[in-house]
Structures are given as C-alpha cells and as structure tokens.
Amino acid sequence: MRFQDAAKDARTVVYAGIQADPLVARVAALLAEATTAERLLARAAMNGERTEPETWRRIFPSLFGEGADAALSRHAELVLAASLEIAGRGEAARSQYRGAVVEELTARLLARRAGPEEPVRRERRVLFDGVRAEIHPYDVTVESSVRPEVFDCKWGARGINADVLNQLDDARSHAADEDVALEVAIVVFDARRSCELRLDRATAEHGRTRLVALESLDELGEGSR
C-alpha cells in the first residue's frame, strides 16, 4: 500500500484555487479553536439566507447575549464574521468553500497530534497491489507507516452516500489484505444524530468506518484513537 498525489484535472485545479484562498485557512483556524456552539453558529451562518451579523447574534444568545463569557463572545465574533464572508461568496461558490473549510479544519486538527513520522496530506490516493486505483482521492490522509489513516470530509450528513462509504471500506479491506491496519473515517460538519440517521439507512458496508461529527471534531486532535 502506498499514497500518491491525485492527478490534476480542470476541476481539481479550480478547486485547488478555492482551497488556497486565505479565507478558507482563516475560517478553519478559527473553527479549530472554537467551541461546539461556535461551530454550530458557523454551520448555521454559512448555510443561512441572511448575512447581517446582528441577526445571528440574536439567534445565538449564549454566545453573544448579556450573560455570555466575554472571551467567548470575542472569538465567536471572529467566527461569525468569517462565516458570513463565505456566505457572501454566493450560492454557487459557497458550497465549495464550505467543503474546503471542513477539509482544512480536519487537517489542522489532525496535525495537533501527528508527529513528524505521520505527515498530514491532502488530496491523496491510496494504491494497493493488484487493485485498480480509485478515481477520487481522499480529502485528508495521515501517512503513518505504522497506523495510516484516510479521511473523507463532508459539510453535511447528506454527503454520506454509498460511493463514499464503499470507497472507505474498500480501502480498509485492501489494506488489511496487505496486513496494514488502515483507519478510515468520515468527518461531517453536521450534527451527529443527523449523520447516524443517514448511516442507519445506508446499505454500503460501514461498520468499521469511524464517524467524526460536528460535536466530536476535537477527537481528531487527540492522541489516542
């Protein structure tokens, strides 16, 4: 088993431009240091119709209300402003930006616990002996020689589908054939319960695929898996 850079086509070149936008990095950096409530704010604002900050401050009194912690409010203001910048990019672009944010956030959280022997990479394919390579690369990989990991990232639970689950489980299975314990996971910037409902109906094999939902994103940066 080995990792390989994904081939670049026109779509990936365009998307790479979005991934490289400093706004994506800024939002991801803020969300990496955010509470779960702030992450819910970000999800709501980036999905929202209205882009006036005051509207969102009223919707989240626990972050911006009279009794809210001052430091929390200051950070939440930054999260809100950056989220509304993405919302302001327009309907066509915002979905790509949101996806790029989840990928960047995942990579940043993983980097907290990944050592020098476990580089965190983006847009990588995994090749197995005698197995035709998957077309779609994995969003984020931790390329440890001991315990490699691959992550597919989704903005919402609706992104969980048979193709994604099959690709992850196939990779795990092929790695096992080579005596490699490949960890496979799907990271979803959505409520855990919504993801579980989606998975409940999924017929694709996913029993050994880890779910990391919005409430548990910090698990990505923790030492033990």
């Binding site: 819910l40 999905n47 989240f60 959505d190 319960r193 409902l197 989606r198 990391v212």
Partner: protein
C-alpha cells in the same frame, strides 16, 4: 457526570423575567416552523426517507424542549428562537431546507438550553455554550453514549 450549570445556555438568562414568555408557546412556534420546513424538503423525492427520519427524531426533540427548562423564558431566548424561525421561513430551496432540518433543532435547543437529542431531563445540550475558545470540550465532544447494542459504537470510536 457532574452538571455545571454555567456550561449551559440557561446561564444567559438565569432567572425568568417578570411577564416573560411561556416556554411552551415558543416551542410550539418552532415546531410549526419545523413542520413547514419539512414540507418543503419533502419535495426532493430521493430524500423523502431521510427527511422523514429527521422529522421523526427532531420534531419530538423540539417539542420536548417545552418541558426541559424553566417555564418562563428570558427575552433573549425568545428572540433567538423567533429569529431562527424567521431564518428558515426565508428558505425556498428544498435542498437548503434539508440542511436546516438538521441544523434548526440544535440552534433552538442551544437557545433554550435543552438538548433535542435528549429533550426530557437531559443534562444539557449537545451544543454547550461553555468555555473560552480553545478550551477542552472533550467530555461534550464525545456526545451522548450510544446504546450498548448500537451499530454506531464502533463508528463513534468508543472502542478505540
């Protein structure tokens, strides 16, 4: 598990204000808005089952918030829910409606200090409002424990 009252959204309005609105009324408005959102989302035929599953879980969760906190709510809490209702009322795209079927219940739960996953007598929301940025939220991040026979035990990483 110890309950730290300061961690939850009730701390925004720790005492009910005189003549503050009834929690049941606010929750009823949220439930009505949620049903309307579901009606819009259902127009995506391929997602009918998912929409139904979301509503089956979250509508009772929203309704359960009526009994999850103080009878009388603070003005900020009522405004929060009504603003959230206004927000989903602007949605005309059924795909967006599906996204909000997942998000709206948690926004309402956070505003009212309840948990739409565990509305009755839970220990607080799945989306706690606690902590300064960067503070550990590991205990909450783990989310509610799944049932012992839950197929999601492995998915949730409990056995790792």
């Amino acid at each position: 598990m110890l309950i730290d009252a300061a961690r939850y959204a009730w701390s925004v309005s720790e005492t009910a204000e005189p003549n503050s609105p009834d929690g049941g009324d606010v929750v009823a408005r949220a439930a009505t808005a949620y049903r309307a959102l579901a009606d819009l989302a259902e127009t995506i035929e391929d997602e009918w089952q998912y929409v139904t599953d979301l509503v089956d879980v979250y509508l009772p969760g929203i309704q359960g918030l009526a009994g999850a906190g103080p009878e009388r709510l603070g003005i900020e809490q009522v405004e929060a829910v009504d603003e959230a209702i206004a927000e989903i009322g602007l949605i005309s795209d059924p795909h967006k409606a599906i996204d909000w079927l997942s998000t709206f219940p948690h926004v309402v739960g956070l505003a009212l200090g309840g948990d739409v996953d565990r509305p009755a007598g839970g220990e607080g929301g799945a989306f706690p409002a606690d902590g300064i940025p960067g503070a550990s939220v590991a205990a909450d991040a783990a989310g509610p424990e799944p049932d012992d026979d839950s197929p999601f035990r492995l998915l949730l990483g409990r056995d790792r």
